[in-house]
Symmetry: C2
């Protein structure tokens, strides 16, 4: 394209089974999750985050993490990962046969304390130890960096602050930092300053973007990020993960919307849009409400 220089291909990290389902009010049964994950892998998604090894008292939706990991038929070439908050989670993930995990830090202390009961500095020290343990066990680690475009409690976050925490994560050995718009507030004017600041510290090839579509800006943000050279994006099939208390509110950037836009731009994803639509269609009844992906909804309407 003339006005935008875009990469030829991108990697989509499917987070629906974890970030999506974790934010749904209803906990799916294990079989439904397993079928969902297998359909997503069959659709060609190169990375699928399948669950989180977290405290089931706090996140009952993920209580069957070990069962899910044990039950899925693994597709050769697909990478499977899971979120782990601590050593207990890491051990459980390793016991479940995963060789890749994710950790989640935040840029702002208030959010960090509310989410993981530690300030940012304390959490980074703990994650450094956890990452060292993981790497020694042959497990790759991805870092999520929450509230990178704004904190619900502290407001604006300076790109330099995002870059600084990203650098800490990179220094401890994470292979990629998913710069995350946790609350879906990022607008396209923020993307270049944040991406540029982070890339200057950790290298563009280690930067991924994790966007929510709460305010409808996710794909516009992707477009700016593509122009900045970012080639890894998180997405959630069906847009799973909308806030359960906000009818109609969108959750994660929907995999369908992302694939449709990227393929239209001539950016290869390796993902079958039809396959993702089918995965969403099959999981929707278990979720119990219409999935918010706009592409999915338009497709569902035209199929009736």
């Amino acid at each position: 394209m003339g006005v935008l220089r875009l990469p030829g291909a991108v990697t989509i990290v499917e987070v629906g089974p974890r970030d999506g389902l974790q934010n749904e009010p209803v906990a799916l049964d294990t079989a439904a999750k397993v079928a969902f994950i297998e359909r997503l892998a069959d659709a060609g998604l190169p990375v699928v985050e399948i669950t989180a090894f977290v405290n089931p008292a706090r996140v009952p939706q993920m209580a069957d993490a070990a069962a899910v990991a044990a039950a899925i038929t693994r597709r050769p070439g697909t990478r499977y990962t899971a979120l782990v908050p601590n050593r207990r989670g890491l051990d459980a993930a390793i016991a479940a046969g995963l060789n890749e995990v994710g950790i989640f830090a935040a840029t702002s202390n208030t959010f960090s304390r509310r989410n993981i009961n530690q300030d940012v500095e304390t959490s980074l020290a703990a994650y450094a130890a956890l990452t060292r343990d993981a790497l020694e066990a042959g497990v790759r680690v991805r870092g999520y960096l929450s509230t990178a475009f704004g904190c619900p409690f502290e407001g604006a976050v300076a790109p330099e602050r995002v870059a600084e925490v990203a650098r800490h994560l990179a220094d401890m050995g994470v292979y990629e930092v998913a710069v995350s718009d946790t609350i879906g507030i990022a607008h396209p004017g923020q993307v270049e300053p944040v991406v540029t600041a982070v890339a200057a510290r950790i290298g563009l090839e280690h930067v991924a973007l994790h966007l929510h579509d709460t305010r409808g800006t996710a794909l516009a943000n992707v477009l700016v990020a593509l122009a900045c050279g970012v080639t890894t994006f998180d997405a959630s099939a069906g847009g799973l993960g909308g806030c359960p208390f906000a009818p109609g509110a969108a959750g994660n950037l929907a995999t369908e919307d992302l694939v449709y836009a990227l393929e239209g731009l001539g950016v290869r994803t390796g993902v079958s849009l039809a396959g993702v639509l089918e995965a969403s269609r099959q999981v929707e009844p278990a979720v119990g409400h219409p999935l918010p992906s706009r592409y999915y909804r338009a497709h569902a309407a035209s199929s009736h």
Copy 2:
């Protein structure tokens, strides 16, 4: 911004009271429409399309066009316009005191025949006569060009075809062509070829974009269009105009989502986001379902 060259300011054409309400299953009463229009003008929207002077048997939602036009208190500096399909509609618009109208052509014969019962060539001849009459009466004319990114019946539409019909509209004297993604199928990869082809024929300053967010791509499309130099965009408060038969399906690009993204990019709109939110909030009960604008929904959720 470094990776994108953007204009400093854009003009938003508010089409909620017409394109939005016309596609809602429930017809609002005149007083609700008038209040909605007045709130939108108060929010700083520079152009408001208030109604359509069309056959009330075909479009009952717009049956009170004359009453709406007569009842609104006009805000100095705001432009008010309405859609007219023919001489009868033009006369009614003039009688109602409007000095600006819109006409709607299509790029594809099948769509044109189904929508206005004429093939494209026949419709252009009729519109040429209508535009001449309008201009002689001192009325400015805007042209909508439907199915510019694809036709639901004929499929793909070549950018050259879009440009050719746009040129016909420009030649008859319309001041602007709203290149329209009628069915919300446009992806960002189409925007530059279409805009470039049309601009080559009629001049970039006469090109507006009218997008629907059916597949979630509208703001990404806006971003590409901005980079191409387009400075006029249609939008609908609350995202009004979703297909009534598709629960959750999005309609027009929402004014709130557009203003939020543009202001974030440092592109001036002159529109108060709070004012648009208030107009949407007040009209929502009459519409009878949650408005689909993602920004609006996120705002509504956070205000509870």
